[in-house]
């Protein structure tokens, strides 16, 4: 646990009260964002996202496997997130803790609930062979707001993913890695995260802002402007107006974020 001096805490809150932030942003402004795709030759899709100093890599690996019995004609999505200890002195070696499970599940629900990936097009042979999409997030540098960075990395990586041609021949499954096509996507998804500091909801929190904040709200928004996933985190409660205002800002920010994904 990070101990922040009470005086720093107060000064950050005072700034926010005046719609100012330690790094000069306004409360509804993101830090600089950059996205690089196709950075891992061995992955079928990949992206590295920086938001300010925060750096995450998403890699997509594909494999043909058996579908779930209750969805015999749907592809399978799996999201895993490694908060490896290189990224933050407080991250520990070991099995995923509650924080990294929450991160992975919130990012995953954004992808899954929006129906971003067209899972029906990932069926090779009903009941027997479907594409399994392994989404792996590798957090390298935690300078705050991992949620938005991870969601952006996953969306960019999926958007860059090339799917080999799979078919059923006389001898069973045939995978042709020479002939690939774009992973079929219905629509893209991005996420905006807010934290409550004093009485303000602040977008894209820095690490220090996260540390002094009382509550968190993640909002996933689709290309069509629909809210597809939300999660409140942290111990501070939020009132209804704060929630509705954040939803409104997240929807308007979504096009800005979507434009970064070519």
């Amino acid at each position: 646990m990070k101990i922040i001096p009470e005086i720093t805490k107060e000064s950050i809150k005072d700034l926010i009260g005046n719609n100012q932030r330690e790094d000069g942003r306004t409360i509804d402004q993101y830090r600089d964002i950059s996205i690089e795709t196709d950075i891992i030759s061995k992955a079928e899709g990949s992206a590295k996202v920086k938001i300010g100093g925060t750096k995450v890599i998403a890699g997509i690996k594909l494999q043909v496997g058996a579908p779930y019995p209750d969805n015999p004609n749907l592809g399978v999505l799996m999201t895993n997130c490694e908060m490896v200890p290189i990224a933050d002195p407080t991250f520990e070696v070991g099995p995923p803790n509650e924080e990294s499970i929450e991160l992975a599940r919130v990012v995953d629900r954004g992808i899954r609930e929006s129906k971003m990936v067209d899972l029906e097009k990932l069926c090779v042979e009903e009941g027997n062979h479907v594409w399994m999409i392994f989404i792996d997030l590798h957090v390298l540098d935690n300078c705050g707001n991992l949620f938005d960075a991870c969601e952006l990395a996953v969306t960019a990586a999926l958007n860059s993913t090339k799917l080999p041609t799979a078919s059923i021949g006389d001898d069973g499954l045939v995978i042709d890695k020479e002939n690939t096509f774009d992973l079929p996507l219905n629509e893209k998804v991005v996420m905006s995260t807010f934290v409550k500091i004093g009485s303000e909801m602040v977008i894209d929190p820095s690490l220090m802002e996260e540390d002094v904040s009382d509550g968190r709200l993640n909002i996933g928004v689709t290309e069509k402007g629909l809210v597809c996933s939300m999660q409140k985190g942290g111990m501070g409660p939020l009132n209804k107006k704060e929630i509705l205002d954040c939803v409104n800002i997240a929807i308007s920010k979504s096009s800005e974020l979507l434009n970064l994904i070519k």
Partner: protein
């Protein structure tokens, strides 16, 4: 799944499932509650405040809350393997976040309040049911609280915004929005949303879920009052 404003289980769009709460159902736990809502059967038990034996969780200036949401292997259609999984870890975390704002633990530094939620049978909405039961169990344990947290979900089914989704509605519906509130202030202490909703739909669902919470809050208070009256006799 909705015909003329009536849902598959016969409920109206804004109608809760039958809900029953019993307080003080366990002997060993410091506080406990049993809750049935629809086909859900939940037992919540509370221990504490007690000395924190987990050093990493201890805080020098306040007590902490630790939650464990756990499904019995026989509580679901396909037997669940015992022990925690990723879903239950996440629910445990957000349950603790949902309950914490109501607790006054400043006078219990270095101590821990343990909340255990056992899902005996699951039929949609167990995370809300668990929070509702746990808050009653915390009150039964005599933990100082500013309010009794209460949880309920709204969602979207067949294009309609409906209250308190059943298992079938949750699986086949378009969206699910579980929340928890502190009814005195209306502040939201848990909020999740899964599935596509327009801004307007979201707002409507949030209002409906808050309505549901307020109704369940009355059942909580009634149950606590009954226990209190009983213990008076």
């Amino acid at each position: 799944m909705i015909t003329d404003g009536v849902r598959v289980d016969g409920r109206k769009l804004d109608e809760l499932r039958p809900t029953k709460i019993e307080v003080g159902v366990l002997e060993r736990a410091d506080g406990s509650a049993y809750l049935e809502v629809g086909g859900n059967k939940i037992i919540a038990g509370v221990y504490g405040p007690r000395e924190s034996y987990i050093r990493r969780l201890l805080e020098p200036n306040t007590g902490v809350i630790r939650c464990r949401y756990n499904m019995a292997p026989f509580s679901v259609d396909d037997r669940k393997r015992p022990g925690p999984d990723r879903r239950s870890s996440e629910i445990s975390k957000i349950t603790a976040d949902a309950l914490r704002p109501s607790l006054m633990l400043e006078n219990y530094p270095r101590s821990m309040v343990d909340v255990f939620i056992e899902v005996i049978e699951a039929e949609g909405g167990t995370r809300c049911a668990g929070i509702t039961a746990a808050s009653v169990a915390l009150a039964d344990a005599g933990i100082p609280m500013t309010d009794i947290v209460v949880a309920c979900a709204a969602g979207k089914v067949d294009g309609e915004i409906v209250l308190d989704l059943s298992e079938k509605e949750d699986k086949e519906g378009e969206a699910d929005l579980p929340i928890a509130i502190m009814p005195r202030t209306g502040e939201v202490t848990l909020l999740q949303s899964d599935g596509n909703l327009s801004e307007e739909e979201f707002s409507k669902a949030l209002d409906l879920a808050i309505d549901g919470c307020m109704q369940i809050s009355e059942i909580q208070k009634e149950a606590l009052k009954n226990k209190y009256l009983e213990s008076m006799e």
